[in-house]
């Protein structure tokens, strides 16, 4: 299908599109460019160098920046556990509801959307006593924060998966597969998951982005993640804090870019 076919009568002209792109692009680019410029400053006298970037890798500074590396490692572990919660708990639940309990769809949607209406600070107040129990059962490791993150990413992950799940007739497809001799496990792995793959991928990456940017819950429950470490380090070395903030941003951007490409790659492969 040619690109032209997608254009409708009300589509903006080329000039308008370029203007929109420039304005929106500037809003995003200015702070990022400012951050890059800041990290390249060589002291207060003016002039630029890569000194601050090189300092991160200098073994002599290891103690100084340890909090940051611990924060990054913790955040990555949290991202993995949170994504696991999404992939192994939320996705199967959604598929089960779609196949066997379609009447519960509204309830599930409502439950999954609630966290977006609850500010993180309110969530923490409720979570504090819950975590008193969590600590008893699982210990006080940072990864346990993922239970709370599993809740905060629900609205984003739900929407992403539902948009894929709603686009295919999962009931008929699973019935067709069953009539051809497939058991429930095969139906899930070979028929449903491949058709909602893009939604699962998007849900996972959005979850990672949310986890990497989370500060409030970690800070108030006294856990160290990337964001709390950034705040801590920025007090003594603002340059390195900004460098890490930039890297986190690039990482999240790369993830979202991959989501976009995954969809495009699929439609190209499908073209006649």
């Amino acid at each position: 299908m040619s690109r032209r076919l997608h254009r409708v009568g009300a589509a903006p002209s080329r000039t308008t599109r370029i203007m929109i792109f420039v304005v929106i692009g500037a809003i995003f680019a200015v702070p990022i460019i400012a951050m890059v410029e800041f990290t390249l400053r060589a002291g207060l006298d003016g002039g630029y160098s890569l000194g601050h970037w090189a300092a991160i890798l200098d073994p002599e500074n290891e103690r100084k920046y340890r909090a940051l590396f611990v924060g990054v490692a913790n955040s990555l572990v949290l991202a993995v556990v949170t994504v696991s919660i999404v992939v192994f708990l939320l996705v199967p639940t959604m598929i089960l509801v779609a196949l066997r309990f379609p009447r519960l769809q509204r309830v599930l949607e409502f439950v999954c959307i609630i966290p977006i209406t609850v500010p993180a600070i309110v969530l923490v107040v409720g979570l504090a006593p819950v975590y008193a129990v969590v600590v008893q059962v699982f210990g006080s490791s940072t990864w346990t924060l993922a239970f709370a993150y599993g809740v905060t990413v629900l609205p984003y992950a739900y929407r992403a998966v539902q948009s894929s799940l709603g686009a295919v007739d999962v009931v008929t497809l699973s019935e067709a597969a069953r009539s051809l001799g497939a058991g429930w496990g095969t139906v899930l792995v070979r028929v449903i998951v491949p058709n909602v793959r893009r939604g699962i991928l998007a849900a996972s990456f959005i979850s990672v982005a949310v986890v990497l940017g989370e500060f409030t819950i970690a800070s108030l429950l006294n856990r160290q993640n990337l964001q709390t470490a950034l705040v801590q380090v920025s007090k003594s070395d603002p340059y390195v804090a900004v460098i890490f903030a930039l890297l986190a941003l690039v990482f999240a951007f790369a993830l979202l870019f991959i989501i976009g490409r995954a969809g495009v790659a699929r439609s190209i492969r499908r073209a006649p």
Binding site: V168, D169, T172, L173, E175, A176, A177, R178, S179, L180, G181, A182, G183, T186, V191, P194, N195, R197, R270, P272
Partner: protein
């Protein structure tokens, strides 16, 4: 593609209840090996539920379902060895046409080379072997249903179940595919159940037609039996066209507008009744029941004319195309005297 000899299927006293409602109310059906049976009825009559129960996609409340003499009620859908084509398009969108057709063989752990050969053979059967590398969204509705048929047949199932496979297609494709299904079924000799609400479709393809109503089979018979001797007013009304005309029934005859017509079934109600008279059993002639022509439509090989009797009843008459009654002109009707079905009035 050679199929094993057909398998007999039997439904015994099958009951299916949904929260108090009986979707199937003691269905009895015997399908002989290799037979093509259509389940026909209005929506909500239980025909699809019956088919899905046979496929194992619905759990029945009571009764038994026998495939080749073996009760399969406790057998899950994936072990019943049936092929099914659904009303909605059901091809797996992430697989190519060939991979779709191979799916059932893959489930049966057939070797790759043999799998491919059999899938291609099955696609050739529906004349789509040249489209193996396409995806579902690149096919027309008719092509998708043909692939679905090839996919259902490739495993050489014991029974083929067709759940309104033509209803989403446009008229011309529907007619073509209907003929194709009939040809393939005859070639393979596979026991087939076909659900449809279209009586013309059922009469055209099936060896026998089961007319369903409110979860029960009202009548089962060859298309000719159903058309010529419907056992109830419902069947007379549902299969083919019938004129409902008031009459008086007694001693094996019903008198309609002064003309006596023999009753099909002597046990049918007596006294004031409605007679179900086929449009082709009425002739426009020079004498008889006076009527006025309302409209006349040309249907290719015949013409159907609607006339109004003195008492206001509208009657549909089927006749030769060369006879062209003009709207508003007076005509007379006479009955050919074929036996009719009667039902209670009101």
């Amino acid at each position: 593609m050679i199929n094993r000899p057909g398998t007999p299927v039997e439904l015994r006293d099958v009951v299916k209840e949904y929260s108090g409602n009986r979707a199937l109310d003691g269905v009895q059906l015997t399908v002989k090996a290799g037979e093509f049976v259509a389940l026909l009825g209005p929506s909500g009559c239980g025909k699809t539920t019956a088919l899905r129960s046979l496929a194992g996609l619905e759990q029945i409340t009571s009764g038994s379902i026998l495939i080749d003499g073996e009760d399969v009620v406790g057998t899950p859908a994936n072990r019943r060895d049936i092929g099914m084509v659904f009303q909605s398009y059901s091809l797996f969108p992430h697989l190519s046409v060939l991979e779709n057709v191979e799916f059932g063989l893959r489930m049966r752990k057939v070797q790759a080379a043999q799998r491919r050969a059999r899938a291609e053979e099955s696609l050739a059967l529906v004349e789509l072997d040249h489209l193996g590398s396409r995806y579902a969204h690149q096919l027309s509705g008719g092509q998708q249903q043909r692939v679905a048929l090839a996919r259902a047949l490739v495993t050489r199932p014991r029974v083929l179940l067709l759940d309104e496979p033509l209803s989403a297609l446009d008229a011309k494709v529907r007619l073509q595919l209907r003929e194709e299904i009939k040809r393939i079924q005859t070639d393979l000799g596979i026991t087939t159940l076909f659900v449809t609400h279209d009586q013309e479709e059922a009469l055209a393809v099936a060896d026998r037609v089961a007319v369903m109503r409110s979860g029960r089979i009202e009548q089962i018979g060859t298309p000719e039996e159903l058309y010529l001797s419907p056992s109830s007013p419902f069947v007379a009304d549902f299969v083919g066209l019938s004129n409902r005309m008031p009459g008086e029934a007694s001693e094996g005859f019903v008198t309609v507008h002064g003309q006596a017509l023999p009753l099909l079934n002597r046990d049918q109600p007596q006294g004031s009744v409605l007679a179900y008279v086929r449009p082709e059993d009425i002739t426009i002639s020079d004498a008889g029941i006076a009527a006025t022509v309302v409209s006349s439509s040309f249907l290719g090989s015949l013409r159907r004319t609607v006339v109004q009797l003195r008492d206001g009843t509208l009657v549909s008459v089927q006749h030769d195309v060369n006879q062209r009654p003009l709207a508003g002109s007076p005509v007379y009707l006479s009955f050919d005297g074929r036996p009719v079905t009667v039902g209670p009035r009101g």
